[in-house]
């Protein structure tokens, strides 16, 4: 997928003014945050389970080479054909080759973020092969020619009316007016494709070393369809998805659906090990898995490696005050929200996504909800430091930081300057006690909001005074 993260500021400004998007984001926020809180509270030892999951992920990553080799051995023993890819082009070309070798004309696809990374659909279509997305959200955005704005709810930026207009146009049928009818129309349209597609493509939420299996989670059942109906199945995944054992998978399952959609389990958890067996009467005759490494090993060897624990639940974005206001498209790549602000620069180069690690208040909501304890604010801070070290910060920002450091190291001067600023601030605020036009670097800050004006006294003044009163 094309990277547009450098446009973060201008795109997010536009998104803030997009009334329809703001309504959709408001709805989505409650739809995710409230159910998650409820099912997490039901687990009496959520913190203990969360720590165990983080430990299992760390252990898996520390021995990733051994676990991947074991996974491959078991997968091959079950008849799976295993491929490895070091670039997006390599993965896409492998998929097309498998399709061509099997005379594939139509592919049905269950949602894959790795596929979004590699731009798989466009590549495959470019070779004259039809691809149908089947997850409802993913189907909607494919019809609209857009990219997902959320990793588990790709069309969350679209309203029901948007979908109604889109379906009426694309399906050439009367316009429908409710979510149920629209969903069932998509079911009716997609069902024949499930039945006659030649190949199915899925992602993999996990690869399990013990058994050489891949697993996908869906609520719609499109994952089961895609892995069962066509004669060829290709799963695309990336190296960090590998976990050691079936019991480790059980542990992850207590966390992933809870953190993602507030469910105790997703409707369909489908674990695939090899192709159709000799006597089976359903399932694909060929099963391929392509394991990708783009950026992953670089992150593994860096101080951002904790980010590789990610199990793609989306909780960090659902709870992020920045994501909640600008939505996923502003981030300009596959993964939005806090995890995107770490992975996008980590995979694509920090110079190509300067704004993302800075587009955070560091409130740590993401760190608190992450089911595998990724310290997202720390990682964003590390990226900010790297930007500074590599001289990627604007000169205004560098000079402000230098000025700040100069003052902060001189307490007396600091006290005088802050006193002056507090008084000037009070004057500027006037009766409204709000400043609506800052100058210089502050201009951007006050473009969409007012700054509450200082009340004329500094924190140190108030604190000193308070001390005197209590001592007396």
């Amino acid at each position: 997928m094309e990277l547009t993260s450098h446009q973060f500021k201008s795109v997010s400004s536009a998104k803030l003014k997009d009334v329809k998007l703001q309504k959709a984001l408001y709805k989505a926020k409650d739809g995710f945050v409230v159910p998650r809180a409820k099912v997490v509270a039901e687990l009496d030892n959520f913190e203990e389970i969360r720590q165990a999951a983080a430990d299992v992920r760390d252990h898996g990553l520390a021995h990733l080479d051994v676990y991947l080799e074991e996974w491959e051995k078991q997968a091959q023993a079950a008849g799976t054909i295993v491929h490895w890819a070091e670039s997006y082009e390599e993965l896409n070309a492998l998929v097309v080759k498998i399709a061509q070798d099997n005379q594939v004309k139509k592919i049905i696809k269950s949602k894959s973020m790795v596929g979004e990374e590699t731009g798989l659909n466009r590549y495959v279509e470019g070779h004259g092969i039809e691809v149908k997305e089947t997850d409802l959200g993913e189907y909607i955005i494919q019809q609209a020619g857009e990219h997902p704005s959320h990793i588990i709810a790709p069309a969350t930026h679209k309203s029901k009316d948007d979908v109604a207009d889109l379906f009426a146009e694309k399906h050439q049928r009367p316009r429908l007016d409710d979510a149920e009818k629209l969903t069932h129309e998509a079911r009716e349209i997609l069902r024949p494709h499930f039945l006659d597609a030649d190949m199915g493509i899925t992602g993999a939420n996990f690869m399990i070393a013990e058994t050489g299996s891949t697993v996908i989670l869906t609520n719609e059942g499109n994952g089961r369809m895609t892995t069962t109906m066509p004669r060829v199945h290709v799963a695309i995944s990336s190296i960090e998805k590998c976990i050691p054992t079936l019991d480790d998978f059980a542990l992850m399952m207590r966390l992933l659906p809870r953190s993602a959609t507030g469910q105790v389990i997703s409707n369909y958890v489908s674990m695939t090990t090899g192709p159709k067996r000799a006597k089976d009467n359903d399932g694909p005759g060929e099963f391929h898995v392509i394991i990708l490494d783009v950026g992953r090993t670089r992150v593994l060897g860096s101080d951002l490696r904790d980010a590789l624990r990610c199990i793609r639940c989306g909780a960090c974005m659902n709870h992020c005050p920045v994501y909640q206001n600008v939505g996923g498209h502003a981030y300009g790549w596959v993964y939005p929200g806090p995890i995107g602000s770490v992975l996008t620069p980590a995979y694509n180069g920090i110079e190509n996504a300067i704004d993302l690690p800075n587009a955070a208040t560091l409130c740590n909501q993401c760190g608190v909800v992450c089911p595998v304890k990724i310290p997202l604010p720390d990682l964003m801070r590390k990226l900010r430091e790297k930007q500074y070290e590599r001289n990627l910060k604007s000169s205004a920002e560098k000079w402000s930081l230098r000025l700040w450091a100069y003052l902060a190291l001189r307490p007396k001067l600091y006290s005088i300057v802050t006193r002056i600023m507090a008084r000037v601030g009070k004057l500027l605020g006037g009766d409204s006690r709000r400043i609506n036009h800052l100058l210089f670097g502050g201009k951007d800050w006050t473009r969409h909001r007012d700054l509450p004006a200082p009340r004329g006294r500094t924190f140190r003044d108030i604190y000193l005074n308070r001390n005197k009163t209590t001592n007396r």
Binding site: K27, H63, S270, T272, D282, G301
Partner: protein
């Protein structure tokens, strides 16, 4: 295969460079040979009660029968109550029951696009989440629980285990190697992709009816 060797070499180099201590006591070989169980939540419920509770929450309907001969009557009861078609496809294990006495047409085969009702067994069920566990195979077609609009599943009471870990324990003991697919099914197909509105029957069954069998 240069990609494979390159990736594995990069992983080894990266892990060496990062120089992080392993947090686990057990080695890789030990973990694979006898997989440890991570901390579990308090499981202070009766498995059957919990299975029913979670099944209900996931929008499945439930019924109970004492003996397998009662299955045709229970299926008829459910179908007529919901005015559903009386033509079924089923797993081979159920074909010899007295179906015609109930006026049900039934075939033992995998489902195809137009079948409306599918009847399956279950390998086991997980109480913690109200989940049916189905293993694909020669005698247990995956399509039967997938293509029809209504899925009726029979689960033996004795096969309701507490957790997914227990299900793996059972599978490791009874099944030589994993089948092509292990399907964990928790209620009817659903989506909330349009404005977070919950809708049943996205691509899989609209209805899941679970019949608990005593034997």
């Amino acid at each position: 295969m240069p990609a494979r060797e390159n990736i594995l070499a990069r992983i080894r180099a990266a892990n060496k460079a990062a120089n992080v201590a392993d947090v686990m006591d057990s080695s890789v070989a030990d973990r694979l040979a006898s997989p440890p169980i991570s901390p579990l939540p308090k499981l202070e419920w009766d498995p059957e009660g919990q299975f029913k509770l979670r099944g209900h929450e996931s929008a499945s309907t439930l019924d109970e029968i004492a003996q397998i001969d009662e299955l045709p009557r229970a299926v008829t009861r459910y179908l007529s109550k919901n005015t559903l078609p009386t033509k079924l496809v089923c797993w081979p294990e159920f074909i010899d029951l007295p179906w015609s006495a109930e006026g049900i047409q039934i075939e033992s085969r995998g489902a195809i696009g137009d079948d409306k009702v599918g009847l399956t067994g279950s390998y086991c069920a997980i109480a913690e989440t109200g989940t049916l566990v189905l293993l694909s195979g020669q005698e247990s077609h995956a399509t039967t629980s997938l293509l029809p609009e209504t899925h009726i599943a029979v689960i033996r009471r004795s096969r309701i285990v507490k957790t997914m870990e227990d299900a793996w324990q059972l599978i490791r003991g009874e099944v030589v190697s994993l089948p092509r697919q292990v399907s964990f099914i928790s209620g009817p197909s659903r989506t909330a992709d349009i404005e977070m509105t919950l809708v049943y029957g996205a691509h899989g069954p609209f209805r899941v009816h679970v019949i608990i069998l005593d034997q």
